[in-house]
């Protein structure tokens, strides 16, 4: 699969949709996962959900009875995207830590 860097918003939206959620639920879940650091604004979330639907990374669940709010869920393709992204993030982290790891040593030695 082509390696692409996901935006923070998309990454957390995909993770949130491991279980079915509607827009407000995604926003709350993202805020919870990131300890309040990532706050998805409604316009951004709306645009991202539409793009993700088009790409087939998530799907809209058929209207669930009383609640008119649309719920979404991660697809198999979406899961693969998340896995690829995690591998990419691991590489970033690994390289970052390997190089900056020497920085504290240098400081201690000097």
């Amino acid at each position: 699969m082509e390696s692409i860097a996901l935006t923070e918003a998309v990454y957390y939206i995909l993770l949130s949709l491991d279980t079915p959620l509607h827009g407000y639920g995604i926003m709350q879940n993202t805020e919870r996962l990131s300890n309040g650091r990532v706050r998805l604004a409604a316009g951004t979330l709306y645009g991202a959900l539409n793009t993700l639907l088009e790409k087939g990374w998530i799907k809209a669940l058929p209207g669930s009875g009383s609640s008119r709010k649309k719920e979404y869920l991660l697809t198999e393709t979406g899961r693969n995207v998340v896995m690829t992204e995690i591998a990419r993030l691991k590489e970033l982290l690994h390289n970052g830590e390997e190089i900056t790891g020497g920085w504290t040593d240098e400081k201690n030695n000097s």
């Binding site: 935006t7 407000y24 604004a41 409604a42 316009g43 951004t44 645009g47």
Partner: protein, 180 residues
Amino acid sequence: MKKIIHKVFTAWHFEDEEKWINKMAAKGLNLTDVGVAKYVFEEGLPGEYQYRVELLENLPTHPESERYIRFMEEMGAEYVASVSRWVYFRKKAEDEPFELYSDMDSRVAHLRRINILLVFLFIFEVWAGVFNLVVGIAYGMAINVIIACIPLILALCIIPGIIRSVRKYRRLKREREIRE
């Protein structure tokens, strides 16, 4: 009590418009309706609402816009009013700060929509001016030549707006190249 204020904001000053509406809201005057250069406020509690202004891709009556507005309402915002493709949302200020966009991509896309609108308006004004000028000269009608000045002057007024708006768009796009 209702209060109607007539005020003109150009499309490239939409952020100033938003600031002004929020300043009114902070004083307890809540926007409830809009028209062309017309703002209707209702007296309420100072600082009760936060307002946001957005240019949609389609008219608010378009199914896509209706879907968007419904989504905004599900997310706790309230649709206040609209003028052509400009929509006004508000949210109770007790929650966290009300923002429409939390990433640069959507801000860039919004500015792009505004730029396209401005360029379209410019072309339209030039066309209307030139059309009247040609008719006026071809048929020797002075009135058309005079009328032609109005859209041509408007077109000239739009130019600084386009420059300002395109600059802002480019600055944001360059910034986007290094961060989200």
